[in-house]
Symmetry: C2
Subunit: 429 residues, 2 copies
């Protein structure tokens, strides 16, 4: 156990190793989490609903033998409030579903609970994982948005309230809040994880997301979700041989601070002997932004159907998106699906030797204000293509506000991507 | 209205036109459906749970103005018991979920209800839409299986109990029972419809399915599910210019009766001037059978997680599949996903001018006995590739037992496929 850091700053695997080595107890870590939440939650607002300290401890103690023998030892999990939980309501950030109590856990929740995790609470989501913000503020600067839609999960991780959290991404809902708050956020390849019990927004775009403080924690949670052998030992970090860099201008606007962070990462990669190739995509990646919007508009209004019966309870941005989807031609939707497939095919023919793509995870640091959650365009192309993505946290601007870089992998090569991300995080910190 | 046929034999659009033209009332049709169910259900066993005649009529009359002004006029819908309904339990063919009451309707159910359909009841599904049969018997011959997993929906349509029913397909769960019972069964392109509220089995393979007696009914229901302009007028039938024929031997075993039905269809196509090309796929399509099984095994055990906590309540075939999925290498799963993608790319490069593929929908007529639901291999390749498929009913063997042919389209070209199917059904009958 690293005694020099606060227990709250430890990652999930660090906590589990500390318990195993007798440096710490589960109870002590539970108390540390609740201490942090009590101190910070009134300002940060990461939680939609949560167990009290006493409820949590009673839950743990009622089944202590099981938790102590388990992989996750009874440590706390945050679950985005778009993901069903059998012991707590799932309200999706909307008054339409106030008090809605699902029949069963989402599969991802069931698997983490079976591995010994305990749901501490439901984290704030924007309305139906789209744009309208919840109450959460950015823990790095309370005047700024945490990003969305997995606002609460990102904030709870970055603010050291819990060591693991679940989220989801349809546009930028994991990578953007992770970048803004300073958390590791990982989005699996499309189809990688069961989405059963996660309320869908757009079936061609939805992915499950994981938040943690270290890449090894993501690797552990990924193994649990895939029912694969899981270990709390630090996993291998692997240096890439070749990285493809996608500068912000290939996608949309990014700030000078973000471009300078990207360049700093490129310089560090080159200093390590990594071959860095600039992505020369013409307008291909940029075009994916609009194709993503098209696909999302078509599908959202065909998923949020029961909600469309209560139009007065929908926010303006969501109503606008749904109207766009209802009035567009199906041929435009299908053309966008085909364009995305063609771009994905092109991308990996373009640089067969590249191990991953490095790109800004967001246009800038988190914007000031809480009326919106920032622009999602830096994530739309990769999400449209269904690629695995991880936000590598650690970089900051001159005022200490997080700047995120994302590492993007090939479809279904998530394991390799995480090994590279582990190496990159070390390099950047 | 065609006075020469029994009202129960009318398709959904025929019923709606009869109501509109004043030849018939909704009440009369509701009574006809219940008369048929009362006469036949004790033997056929299509229903897991249903409203009584009085309950249904009261439901209709309580909101008569809405239903009479609606597109579907209050006509009855059967819903496979793997699809959530807010007014009736969804038990998934398993004792694990006895009495399970979902919070809300699946999106497909909500859309049909919003269009004026009324859920008459939940139709029998095999256990979790996999192999273990429910109580349903084949209405064409009670000694035979109806096929699965959408057993009750196919039987209810073929036996004229209701004019529309919902199902789902992961392997052969729509096309096979439609072929065995003699119904039109349609599986949308992968991703075409929202699966929200349909309990998932394998995320890379699951599709929504529709059952009806005529292709125009499928076209109407498809428009409702896609929130597109919908009409009860007969839709256009379009003759294909070129059809690719996939004989049974390219996939797996088929009976002489099925091969002769296929040949008969080919002869009729040629007589109409349609160019017919034999699919020369080597082992490519046959190989898809095992890739499909691989993908399904990997994903099923990662979706049916809460069920795996109660292993004593799982059937042997399902437990075996889940064990296979848990012990296989992920690399084998990923290789199968890649092989499927490669085959799909190859297939449509192979014959760019073909309008559709014609193939046996099942290996034979429905087998005798009720301990199993027949072999699914004739559907696995197309389902793996996510192609839209429709079973064109109407052909029969010498004893009057249905033989199904399936028409397979390009991804997302479902509308064109349905127009061809409408033409083909006329041709074959």
């Amino acid at each position: 156990m690293n005694k020099s850091i606060d227990v709250n700053e430890m990652g999930l695997c660090q906590m589990l190793r500390a318990i195993e080595e007798g440096d710490c107890t589960t109870e002590a870590l539970i108390h540390a989490c609740f201490d942090r939440i009590e101190a910070r939650e009134p300002e940060v607002g990461a939680w939609q609903k949560k167990r009290t300290r006493d409820e949590y401890l009673a839950y743990y103690q009622a089944d202590k033998a099981f938790f102590d023998a388990s992989l996750l030892k009874g440590l706390p999990l945050g679950v985005k409030d778009i993901i069903d939980t059998e012991e707590m309501p799932t309200e999706m950030g909307s008054s339409i579903h106030a008090g809605r109590q699902p029949v069963e856990d989402a599969t991802c929740v069931a698997l983490i609970r079976a591995a010994g995790g305990i749901v501490l609470g439901k984290t704030v989501t924007t309305e139906f994982a789209y744009f309208k913000p919840g109450k959460t503020k950015n823990p790095a600067d309370l005047e700024r948005t945490p990003g969305g839609s997995s606002s609460g999960s990102a904030a709870a991780i970055a603010d050291n309230m819990v060591p693991m959290a679940l989220g989801s991404q349809t546009a930028a809902s994991v990578i953007r809040p992770a970048a803004y708050c300073g958390a590791i956020g990982y989005v699996g390849s499309r189809g990688e994880f069961s989405l059963r019990g996660g309320q869908p927004l757009a079936q061609s775009l939805d992915s499950l997301g994981l938040f943690a403080r270290n890449v090894e924690d993501i690797q552990l949670l990924r193994a649990i979700l895939l029912r694969q052998p899981a270990s709390i030992k630090a996993s291998e970090s692997i240096a890439p041989k070749c990285v493809l860099v996608c500068h912000g201008e290939s996608v949309g606007e990014t700030s000078p601070a973000m471009e300078s962070a990207t360049q700093k990462a490129v310089d560090k990669l080159k200093a390590q002997g990594v071959k860095v190739v600039e992505l020369d995509a013409g307008n291909r990646i940029k075009d994916m932004v609009n194709h993503h919007i098209n696909i999302m508009a078509w599908e959202v209004c065909r998923n949020l159907v029961i909600e469309s019966f209560q139009p007065n309870q929908l926010s303006d941005p969501l109503a606008t998106l749904m109207e766009q989807g209802l009035t567009m031609d199906r041929s435009s939707y299908v053309a966008s699906l085909e364009a995305v497939q063609a771009c994905r095919d092109w991308l990996w023919r373009y640089v067969p030797k590249a191990d991953a793509i490095l790109a800004p995870a967001a246009p800038d640091i988190a914007p000031l204000g809480h009326a919106a959650t920032g622009a999602p365009h830096m994530s739309r192309p990769w999400q449209a293509m269904g690629l695995p993505v991880i936000n590598v946290s650690g970089m900051k601007d001159e005022n200490g506000i997080p700047l995120g870089l994302q590492l993007i992998g090939r479809v279904r090569e998530d394991d390799g991507l995480l090994s590279l991300a582990s190496w990159l995080k070390e390099l950047l910190n």
